[in-house]
């Protein structure tokens, strides 16, 4: 039986001096080892939910909240963000916000969180070396983090969260500054982390990626979860367009190419599914060609 790591129970939140609620009666559960994606239009409350999951709401932001969030059994309202950080890590949308601004080198930046936890210096070295190799930032270790490019800082930001070995990793559009290849490399790492048992909660606008990686998808609109389920359940929902979300391109392509009703599945959500389906159709068509 998989245990529930995150439990959001009818959680609502309104920022101080704002008339609109940012989160409205959000209710969801995330099991240990799950890969959960949160999608929705800009301003739908995704980042607010991320902040709530790591305890920044209600501990850091001033506002009004109702309901309860528990992370690994701890109520986020009654423990400090620092204490929660031992279980749950967050990677910000803007990687420059992830930096401590106390480090003269990337190695020092990576060591910052470890130092706060009292990790011995010798252990820091081995952890930094390991994470630098994983994130392909070994050549940057002696450079000043403030002098790196956006993509490089994004890798450092992610590494600074992963090095703390959290049970849960919350990623708020963490590849926005990376080029497509860099983004793919990072996603491969995240996939491997998930396979090693780390629970991932990811906010993303790349639907192909969401369909490929997520076990569960939640659609947010105006602070509420309006749709949730497996990628198939969500992306095949006729309501999806109402929430300003488009399904992956593979879905549109296969839906337009494949004649409905002949197969058990006449659509694909991921690249591999689309290739398999189109190969199947092409093979059938070739076999049906009249013999000369």
């Amino acid at each position: 039986m998989t245990s529930t790591l995150i439990q959001v129970s009818h959680f609502s939140y309104r920022y101080n001096q704002e008339s609109e609620v940012a989160l409205k009666n959000v209710h969801l559960e995330v099991a240990a080892g799950e890969f959960v994606a949160m999608i929705g239009a800009n301003g739908s409350g995704k980042s607010t939910l991320c902040n709530a999951l790591v305890g920044l709401i209600p501990n850091y932001f001033v506002g009004y909240s109702e309901g309860r969030i528990t992370v690994d059994g701890k109520d986020t309202a009654s423990v400090s963000v620092g204490e929660l950080s031992q279980t749950i890590g967050l990677v910000f949308q803007n990687p420059f916000n992830q930096l401590s601004y106390t480090a003269d080198t990337v190695a020092e930046e990576l060591a910052y969180g470890l130092g706060n936890r009292g990790v011995p210096r010798d252990e820091m070295f081995s952890k930094i070396k390991k994470i630098a190799e994983l994130m392909q930032i070994d050549e940057l270790l002696d450079k000043n983090p403030l002098e790196l490019s956006g993509g490089q800082v994004q890798r450092v930001a992610l590494a600074s969260a992963i090095i703390l070995e959290p049970k849960i990793l919350v990623l708020d559009e963490c590849t926005t500054q990376l080029d497509p290849i860099g983004s793919e490399q990072i996603m491969d790492i995240i996939k491997k982390l998930n396979e090693s048992g780390i629970t991932i909660v990811m906010v993303d606008h790349d639907m192909e990626r969401v369909a490929e990686l997520a076990d569960k998808v939640y659609v947010l609109q105006h602070g509420s979860i309006v749709l949730g389920g497996t990628p198939e359940e969500v992306f095949c929902s006729p309501q999806l367009a109402e929430f300003s979300v488009s399904p992956p391109d593979y879905y549109e392509i296969t839906k337009n190419v494949i004649q409905p009703g002949y197969r058990e599945k006449d659509f694909a959500l991921t690249e591999s599914q689309a290739i398999a389906l189109l190969q199947e159709v092409l093979y059938e068509d070739r076999n049906q060609e009249p013999q000369a």
Binding site: L56, N97, S100, T102, D104
Partner: protein
């Protein structure tokens, strides 16, 4: 093979930041206490020589000339001509007389300021901010105060970068930032608002980052990646600095 300059620079770089801080304060305060200004100028010459040896001579001289000459002239004008302590007159300019006591006082203040300036400059050029704060926290300074010092030191280059970004953004939309002093001043004014506001937003986000990276977790004693060692050279230098401070007190006590 390392040149002499480089080996001296490495030696200075490896001195414990606490030792450097102690030297800066002992030199500055010692010169302020000592009744005559000549000791201060002698030390200033030594600092310039040290700057030259570690490859910072040009910058140190520029700093002394840029700040020291105008400040010294200003102090000489005010104290030398108009100090109430003036008894012995050394020059007559017609509109005012220059007094020895005021002149000596002006020279002492200017030498002290220049020593602090040059010594701090050399310290900053040979020490990383993070090393200074690591040394201070290892000596018992509260980590929160240590962060405050470090973040304050690091916020300056960050704001400079921000000014550059905003300036480029405004320039790309037709704001003229080059030209006469008045034109540049005019272009600088609209920068202040966005830079201050974005720095305030940054401060809030920085707070969030620190929280999620475990700043101030209860129970764990923070450790540091930077190891600052105290060598026998540090001990010798500290003793010399303290001896200098004490010896500068002797003429006052006698």
């Amino acid at each position: 093979m390392e040149t002499i300059d480089n080996s001296i620079a490495v030696l200075v770089r490896n001195i414990n930041p606490i030792t450097k801080l102690l030297i800066v304060f002992c030199l500055g305060i010692g010169c302020l206490i000592y009744p005559l200004p000549f000791v201060g100028y002698g030390i200033l010459c030594l600092l310039v020589i040290l700057g030259i040896l570690i490859g910072q001579g040009k910058q140190v001289l520029k700093l002394i000339a840029g700040f020291g000459i105008p400040v010294t002239l200003m102090l000489l004008f005010i104290q030398g001509l108009y100090s109430p302590k003036n008894i012995t007159m050394i020059a007559d300019f017609g509109f005012a007389q220059m007094g020895l006591e005021g002149t000596m006082y002006a020279l002492k203040i200017s030498s002290t300021l220049l020593i602090f300036l040059a010594a701090f400059y050399l310290m900053l050029q040979t020490t990383k901010n993070s090393e200074t704060v690591a040394a201070l926290t290892q000596s018992g300074l509260n980590t929160k105060i240590g962060y405050l010092i470090l973040a304050s030191l690091n916020v300056v280059p960050q704001m400079q970068r921000k000014v550059k970004v905003i300036q480029e953004a405004q320039e790309s939309r037709g704001v003229e930032i080059s030209g006469s002093f008045i034109q540049r001043a005019k272009a600088f004014l609209p920068l202040i608002g966005p830079v201050v506001l974005s720095s305030l937003t940054d401060a809030q986000e920085r707070g969030m980052t620190l929280e999620i990276r475990g700043f101030g977790i209860n129970g764990d004693k923070p450790t540091s990646y930077i190891k600052v060692e105290t060598t026998s050279l540090d001990i010798v230098l500290r003793i010399i600095a303290i001896c200098f401070l004490i010896s500068s007190l002797i003429p006052r006590l006698l």
